[in-house]
Symmetry: C2
Subunit: 519 residues, 2 copies
């Protein structure tokens, strides 16, 4: 069932092999998809109003704990909030007035401006798996603690695949690097191995400031240029139910002040940290998200904000989180409707509960990725590489997910549903008539190289050809592709002076002791 | 990576095991889904008009070969067609006038009336894989020729799973049974092992008449009762491009005369048997389908017809068919729009090109099944068990697909997106506040047994628990489930007199030599 033979295709591939030079695979070009589909909208107007009313009543009547004194003072100073210790409440008029200041669309420009991503409208952007403590690959055949090499390899995959549009958090936690300097090493790797939009964890002031500085250096920006618009972003999670923690809010406010991208994603598992009913879990998630958006707008009217969804359900037998379920899909779609109601860009995720990159992993991940499409999500976190509810990062899963992402990109190509005379092709039908086939005719010859999606991982050979080539299942093929990509990986170009400035910065901050680890 | 340990769950399952008695798994009840979603519609009005115009021009200007003299005479007698030898052309007004007689919704009632299925409206029905010549399971580990036992086992799965609503053709061709009597043996197995809607292949007059007779006997119907409305159905394929063969049309007309269900599904592989452009392939498919619907309406105005889509693309490198691709999804959605334009129920399929039930199999099958949902399809053929472009039937794939089908069924439960006060659950949020969790509160306790989808095959345990239980991948778990189901299978009840009548009928027809095999 396993095998690591390099996959070869017969017929017509020699030329392709020439064209692609040393590239490990033929992949689609960089082109973040434009979502052509009308969103799937399970809620009618009354349903949207009911979830909105629920979220507003949570903010008005129950309140959210804000475990950050500076943030509490900002809410107090606004004059629009009722403060009771660390609990903050606010009326719906105030909420709507503040979030109306948030732009419905904004962009993030990384060190390579060609890799700019846009949040809002019909734009879709996919990012790599972020934050698993553990790693699994088919070579190891077991779950191990993440280290810097694994992290760097996953960063290489994130750069390599054109269907990955931004680089989220650490694709796996490199636990062989001390926590005080981990952010310096990983950001150095991220800045030098990738040229895509990067992310900062909100894990204390020093880390946040260090990451902003490294992104500024990598982009060759002055402070003023850096502050002129988002060059990076953060994502914070509330501590559901109804709490925002100190470091998350601290980082959130730092990025707001410097005009960077702000994504808030409550982790509302229905039945555990939120009501067991999906609409209730979504309403609570919206309330927890919107209060962070209000805070950002109070700091910087017009701050670039997006709300995320991480509403799923638990396995009521074990309490374990479940992902990519029917409930997850519907929660994602409902959150999409609410994001449009509030005029805010939206984040979703590519997720699964499976422990290995098998059939279950693929149906759960397909469910979550397509529900992100159906929700009109603009940013899809963890879109490649996630296993075990986010506890494991896997390169095989990464590569299998990229096959799905490329298919989504292709699915959004307007060519597929074009209906001009050349596509209806009456003359071609007339030419072939009831005899023969369409392979040889000019209409086909003019189009066959681009007419159809060409997968890099799917094996479309018949059983006998597949068997004689080693009978390699998908995950094992992905394992070989992983090694091919890493072996041929070339980092994106970087000005040597900038690279040295990054090296110096990391060395200086390490000498200073990095970040405190007592949080 | 393999393993065949019987999967066990800890905690709370003992009671469930008691409740389910000897059943192999806990599954969802019989309840064909009602499709709540607005269809995904890539075509605007102009696009629909363009495909319609293309289909009509094919029928008006190019014509379809009708390789059945009786059918040609029916077209001639209608006075609305231009006949040139076996080529039949007709104007769009005539086409639209005839298909307007076809009912937009109709039902099929099998021997167990509780298993009635409805074609049209927002009804969805899923059927088993049909017609592969070969079989693969993990016990064998290789592709083998289908036989009667394999066929019977797949019929048992088709009966067992409540998410399978009708039984299509032979789930695998039992090539150990001579072709002259194969239909008698398989239909006997199908009639006795299942009580769901059955299908007849149009492979010659004797086979079609035998199957209708066996369905009539199994239902305990008189001839008049049988003819009073669909008790079964057939599916015919055109011989693309632009041809309908003799036996297919012969069976089609026989079922039309006896008021049974009629589904016509052109097999239009873009770039091979149809234009390389998807809209062109769909237009050709529509033309080939509609002429069969016209024929049925000429024979019996109001005949119960549906049009199917089997439009996909080929791998332009090898010419092999590809399935579950982005192009396939869009073709299915476009065909759904056209079916609604013509007011006809629609058939789609669950398909893949993968050779084994691995990751690729699941993303291709997920793509095809969800596109059927998005297209508003009423009948989804091959929804469980299909591999290698339909050349292989696999019980593991069958069971994995049923996990996806159950999720679609659950996804369509309005409960998931209900937004009444009990679902918004402000009081539950207030009760928990910022402390603790929702597990223990009454709102959760009242709902936790039904709040979330409970999979029978997905393993939601963490990695360590999964590993210590044998580290069994999805396909291997499905293999064990297959054996569990077969071991505990109990056929649906059948009146002994009816069973004897079937036995006698089969014996008599075998003594008469069955069906000729010179077609």
């Amino acid at each position: 069932m396993t095998g690591n033979r390099r996959r070869k295709r017969s017929g017509g591939r020699a030329g392709a092999a020439d064209r692609r030079g040393t590239a490990a695979i033929e992949q689609m070009p960089w082109a973040p998809p434009i979502n052509l589909d009308r969103p799937t909208e399970p809620l009618d107007e009354d349903g949207i109003a009911a979830i909105h009313d629920g979220a507003m009543r949570i903010l008005e009547e129950i309140g959210i704990q804000i475990l950050n004194a500076e943030a509490v003072e900002i809410f107090r100073a606004s004059g629009g909030c009722a403060i009771d210790g660390d609990k903050v409440r606010m009326g719906r008029d105030f909420v709507m007035e503040q979030i109306a200041k948030a732009p419905p669309e904004w962009s993030v420009t990384p060190r390579n401006p060609a890799r700019q991503i846009t949040m809002g409208g019909r734009h879709m952007n996919f990012g790599n798996v972020s934050s698993p403590p553990s790693y699994w690959d088919m070579g190891l055949g077991r779950k191990v603690t993440g280290n810097r090499e694994m992290c760097a390899n996953l960063l290489k995959l994130s750069q390599y695949f054109n269907c990955i549009h931004f680089v989220g958090g650490y694709p796996v936690e490199p636990q062989d690097v001390h926590a005080s300097v981990r952010h310096l090493d990983v950001l150095f790797d991220k800045m030098t191995l990738t040229d895509k939009v990067a992310h900062a964890y909100c894990l204390g002031a020093e880390r946040v400031e260090d990451v902003m500085e490294m992104v500024r250096i990598a982009g060759g920006h002055s402070d003023a240029e850096f502050d002129s618009g988002p060059k990076m972003y953060t994502n914070i999670n509330s501590t559901s139910p109804l709490k925002h923690d100190h470091p998350m809010l601290d980082g959130w406010m730092r990025l707001a002040r410097r005009n960077q991208g702000l994504v808030v994603t409550p982790f509302t598992l229905a039945g555990a940290m939120a009501p067991v009913t999906m609409a209730g879990a979504v309403a609570q998630s919206i309330a927890e998200a919107l209060i962070a958006v209000v805070l950002a707008q109070l700091i910087r009217p017009g701050a670039a904000c997006a709300i995320g969804t991480f509403t799923s359900n638990v396995d009521m037998k074990s309490g374990a989180p479940a992902f990519g379920t029917p409930e997850y899909m519907r929660a994602t779609q409902m959150t999409g409707q609410m994001a449009r109601f509030y005029g805010l860009p939206m984040r979703a995720s590519g997720v699964c509960a499976a422990n290995v990159p098998d059939g279950q992993a693929m149906w759960e991940t397909s469910n979550s990725l397509w529900s992100a499409v159906q929700a009109g999500a603009h940013m899809v976190y963890h879109a490649a590489g996630w296993l075990e509810g986010g506890l494991i990062a896997s390169p095989e899963k990464f590569i299998m997910d990229c096959e799905i992402l490329q298919q989504i990109q292709r699915y959004m190509d307007p060519m597929l549903t074009a209906t001009g005379p050349d596509e209806i092709a009456i003359d071609a039908v007339r030419e072939v008539g009831g005899q023969g086939h369409f392979f040889g005719i000019q209409h086909t010859q003019d189009r066959y190289t681009t007419a159809f999606y060409q997968p890099f991982l799917s094996d479309w050979r018949n059983y006998e050809a597949w068997e004689s080539a080693g009978a390699v299942w998908t995950a094992a093929r992905a394992h070989q592709t992983f090694h091919d990509i890493i072996a041929s990986f070339e980092p994106p170009p970087m000005d040597e002076a900038i690279r040295e400035e990054l090296v110096d910065f990391v060395a200086r901050r390490k000498a200073e002791g990095g970040a405190p680890t007592d949080f």
